[in-house]
């Protein structure tokens, strides 16, 4: 089985090589004359208004966790699709029930307005 992954390894090595070569070339050959003004943070030409460590709105968290839940649901669908012919009607109905329960949650979040961005 592992021999199928040779292209992935080659891809990894090439990708890593390109990244390392580009950054190190810029590092070695680029001209660097830093001074205090060049290194100071700026925001579209202004002085920075506030620290970058600001609080994010909690709404991003809600979007992220809803994404995780449906991402997990997708992960369950992959092996099911691969073996659907072997597991027959029982396996099919098991997934229908699984998705049905999650659709209840989906309807809940839709009706609650959790998908709205006001």
């Amino acid at each position: 089985m592992l021999e199928h992954y040779l292209p992935v390894v080659i891809f990894l090595v090439v990708g890593l090589g390109v990244g390392v070569v580009m950054i190190s070339l810029g590092f070695v050959m680029g001209r660097r004359r830093p001074d205090a003004e060049k290194l100071s943070p700026y925001e579209c030409g202004f002085e920075a208004f506030e620290d970058s460590r600001m609080k994010f709105d909690v709404r991003y968290y809600l979007v992220a966790i809803l994404f995780i839940i449906f991402d997990l649901e997708i992960a369950f669908l992959f092996p099911w699709a691969v073996v659907l012919e072997d597991i027959g009607l029982f396996g099919f109905l098991a997934m229908v029930l699984f998705l049905g329960i999650l659709v209840i949650g989906f309807i809940y979040e839709w009706k609650k307005g959790a998908l709205e961005w006001e």
């Binding site: 089985m1 460590r53 600001m54 994010f56 992960a75 029930l97 998705l99």
Partner: protein, 201 residues
């Protein structure tokens, strides 16, 4: 050293190094990114064990989704390092106690006597036709159908809990309603007034 051993040591070294970075780097965002690297390297290790589906699921779910959540949480907290370090001495005894208790528990549960090749023999190699995803799917939706359905219930509970905890109405925010914007007709916006022509004096 075979190629497989080479990859095992490479991934294992990457896992250990990046896991060490998670707890040693000062910037919490870098720590989260190191954790991403740890997960990717562990996925490589699982791949070497021919656990194909689990490796992909690790990358898909943990690297793709859970770590995004971690990043959000790290950014949502107000990371002021000076303030974080303030209570160091005050919390030190409690922190040490918790650390010692956890280290003891881990030593009891996952001590070295539980590992080793004679206890956990290496899984036998399968041929090139073997598919871990198929093997998993055959049992997951038939033999283990009950835990599988419970998983969906847990996910639904997670949806409800996340919404209940974080959904806030903000009555004062101004926002556009695309529905209304698209559905608007000429009569709603333009009013034609007929009036007599006026002459300038």
């Amino acid at each position: 050293m075979t190629a497989e051993q080479f990859f095992f040591y490479a991934f294992a070294a990457m896992t250990v190094a990046s896991a060490a970075m998670v707890i040693t780097v000062r910037n919490p965002v870098y720590a989260v990114l190191s954790l991403v690297l740890t997960f990717v390297a562990s996925a490589g290790l699982w791949l070497l064990l021919e656990a194909e589906f689990l490796a992909i699921a690790l990358v898909l779910v943990y690297v793709g989704a859970v770590m995004v959540l971690f990043l959000f949480v790290v950014m949502m907290l107000d990371i002021n390092l000076a303030r974080l370090k303030e209570g160091f001495i005050r919390y030190l005894p409690l922190g040490v106690a918790v650390a010692v208790a956890m280290a003891l528990m881990m030593a009891l549960v996952v001590g070295p006597e539980h590992f080793g090749l004679e206890r956990v023999p290496a899984p036998e190699r399968h041929g090139p036709e073997y598919s871990n995803t198929e093997a998993l799917g055959r049992v997951l939706y038939t033999v283990y159908v009950y835990p599988f359905e419970i998983a969906s219930v847990i996910l639904t509970v997670a949806i409800v809990a996340a919404i209940a905890l974080t959904l806030r109405r903000r009555p004062h925010t101004k926002y556009q309603n695309p529905d209304e914007q698209i559905a608007v007709r000429r009569e709603d916006r333009v009013r034609l007034v007929s009036m007599k022509p006026e002459r300038r004096e």
